[in-house]
Symmetry: C2
Subunit: 384 residues, 2 copies
């Protein structure tokens, strides 16, 4: 049905009406006093959202661009880097390091399982010569719905004393509690089309004082992604290159909405919604990819065995105008993913689950018990 579409993918995510309207404003000059005022406000509010007093830089690029900048400003060719890889995005950060001829030690786990923190502890403790310059961790692995235990790994990196912690928080920031300063995270990258309730086009990086020390010794060639000029410009409430003015207008409004809701409420909402989603999916007898003790509150991956994941996605899309995401790489056709981050409410999850139930019916699903997805989710929504 025309214009009736509902996005339940892990980015782009739904955008509130007042943010959409801000996007439609006439642009203003990016070197004007009026624009600097907006940059000052959004930077302050981004620091609040990131729970950090570190520098907060705004880039015109996708999340991958921000992650590349977060790597190539602090590491040199030949540097040893531990890269956690248990999904498409962890894999990608390893590829970036290899593209810049770094010495990559990929710490893998099966897609759908969390990284083993003990492997990181052992490797970091064994590195008495302090050869490891950074540990790169994907917090919420978008491709599988797994949440890695970043807090524990960051502790081991701290104990190491030399390595930086570089974090892909693309789907976790604004959805999952991520206290950057408390956990001592040096570089954290994220993207606007996820927890920020914005369309894609902007990405964000927080950079610690320790990371800036590494920057001083970094000779990796770069220009657009050289973070030094971003830092210098940010101090003057501006940007080194022309920013996407209209997306910044939207960001201003989205951050105001988030401040009004409050950090704790935002995280509680994502927790409640993801728990309800998992309960509903389980009630339908569909296997979840991520385990109960390591799931992201941003996205739920489902690995159906009796039905084809792509059949479910097709019917959800055609009959009910709901977009779900498919699997990536070797999980293509084997899973579907329900995105529930950013501007997503309890009602949206009931909507998705009731449509999923109807979709399974269409595919011939016989519900043996009287429990339905909606019943199960409703119970969780009432208690979590």
């Amino acid at each position: 049905m025309q214009d009736k579409h509902m996005l339940m993918i892990p980015g782009p995510t739904p955008v509130p009406e007042q943010v959409l309207l801000a996007l439609a404003k006439h642009p203003i000059g990016h070197r004007s006093g009026d624009f600097s005022k907006i940059m000052a406000e959004v930077t302050e509010n981004l620091k609040w959202l990131h729970q950090t007093s570190n520098d907060l830089l705004v880039l015109t690029a996708s999340g991958t661009g921000a992650m590349e900048a977060g790597i190539i400003n602090f590491l040199n060719a030949g540097d040893r880097v531990l890269v956690g890889s248990n999904g498409k995005f962890g894999d990608r950060w390893g590829k970036i390091c290899k593209a810049y001829n770094m010495d990559v030690d990929l710490v893998t786990a099966e897609w759908g399982q969390p990284l083993d923190t003990e492997v990181f502890r052992a490797k970091l403790e064994a590195d008495t010569e302090k050869q490891i310059k950074a540990v790169i961790i994907t917090h919420s692995e978008t491709s599988t719905g797994v949440l890695n235990d970043l807090e524990t790994i960051a502790k081991y990196v701290k104990a190491h004393g030399e390595a930086l912690t570089i974090v892909d928080a693309v789907t976790s920031l604004g959805a999952v509690n991520l206290p950057i300063d408390e956990w001592g995270l040096d570089v954290v990258g994220s993207g606007s089309q996820k927890g920020y309730m914005l369309p894609p086009g902007l990405s964000f990086l927080s950079v610690s004082a320790r990371a800036w020390q590494a920057y001083e010794n970094c000779t990796t060639p770069r220009f657009y992604f050289d973070l030094g000029p971003y830092r210098k410009s940010a101090k003057k409430d501006t940007t080194p290159f022309t920013p996407p003015v209209n997306l910044i207008f939207g960001l201003q409004v989205a951050l105001q909405m988030m401040k009004q809701e409050g950090l704790e409420s935002i995280f509680a909402r994502h927790l409640r919604i993801s728990a309800a989603t998992r309960a509903g999916v389980k009630a339908l007898g569909l296997p979840l990819l991520a385990p109960d003790d390591a799931y992201s509150t941003a996205v739920t991956a489902v690995a159906p065995t009796e039905f084809a994941a792509e059949d479910i996605r097709k019917i959800m899309n055609k009959r009910f105008d709901i977009s779900l995401a498919g699997g990536q790489d070797h999980l293509k056709g084997k899973i579907f993913r329900i995105g529930h981050l950013g501007f997503v409410s309890d009602r949206d999850i009931l909507t998705a689950l009731s449509s999923l139930e109807a979709t399974l019916s269409e595919l011939g699903y016989q519900n043996g018990s009287s429990a339905t997805a909606v019943d199960a989710a409703t119970k969780v929504l009432a208690t979590v």
Copy 2:
């Protein structure tokens, strides 16, 4: 006056209402069939606008990001590069080449004067060992309003036989005639907030078959800006990384509007408007920075001697809600720039000139003759 602002800077430029409304649409999934259809349409229309059958790639970055990508995918460290530099942007492309340890031969001209094509001819002819791998030229130098004679320089590069022509067309594309295939331009970069009638956030690159040959031998490290994956994705009407979906919605509408107006009409409009602007400014006795035989139809730089450029900008802004751009680097405070590219009409120029005339009056200007800026511009608008 609130919401009464008029942008007359060389980017961001004014955006038509129907483009603004497209920006405010709910985002859709960037991996959906619906989005691929839009990508197919905008890519085809971009090729029309670029007058090329070369690959046309869409990047999420500012124009500087596109230019960096246009350099680092085709050139290696140590490569000799001729870089034309007669303004801030020519300078910048030289800096990018230096950041990647290329052997930069900067061919300079005074800011406000065009590049001397003979210097390029001589250097290219003298290079019998074919050491020069590329010539980088800024077509319309945004910082000075000068139009360089790209057509002639491109002919000399062609005669050389080995070097690539890499062009900064950031303010010329969509404003000045730039027949990429006819002139044999290998790499051409541009940005959405200029002639495209869009807010900033997108940039574009056209890449020739010859450039792709150089790509095969290029080992400069890169990931987000590696154009190979962009080319591969473009063939499937998609992008390697999440694109700014809402800006693409806007691009779709803006290109439809441009097709409706027609290329010849667009270029004629810019020519008429820039000629009228120059006539009006001259009638006020204000010196123009760029000479009559080498001016850009996208932006007019004015170098007042009796009045302070910043005083003029301030009054234009406060009294008449018109933003003009200032000078950059050593021209700061010495010039002001009137942007007139993209969604700019004859009426807009009369508006700007009448306000400029009133501004000079406020500053104590005595008009000796009976000619006014508006009179002079009106005559040009009626004849050009």
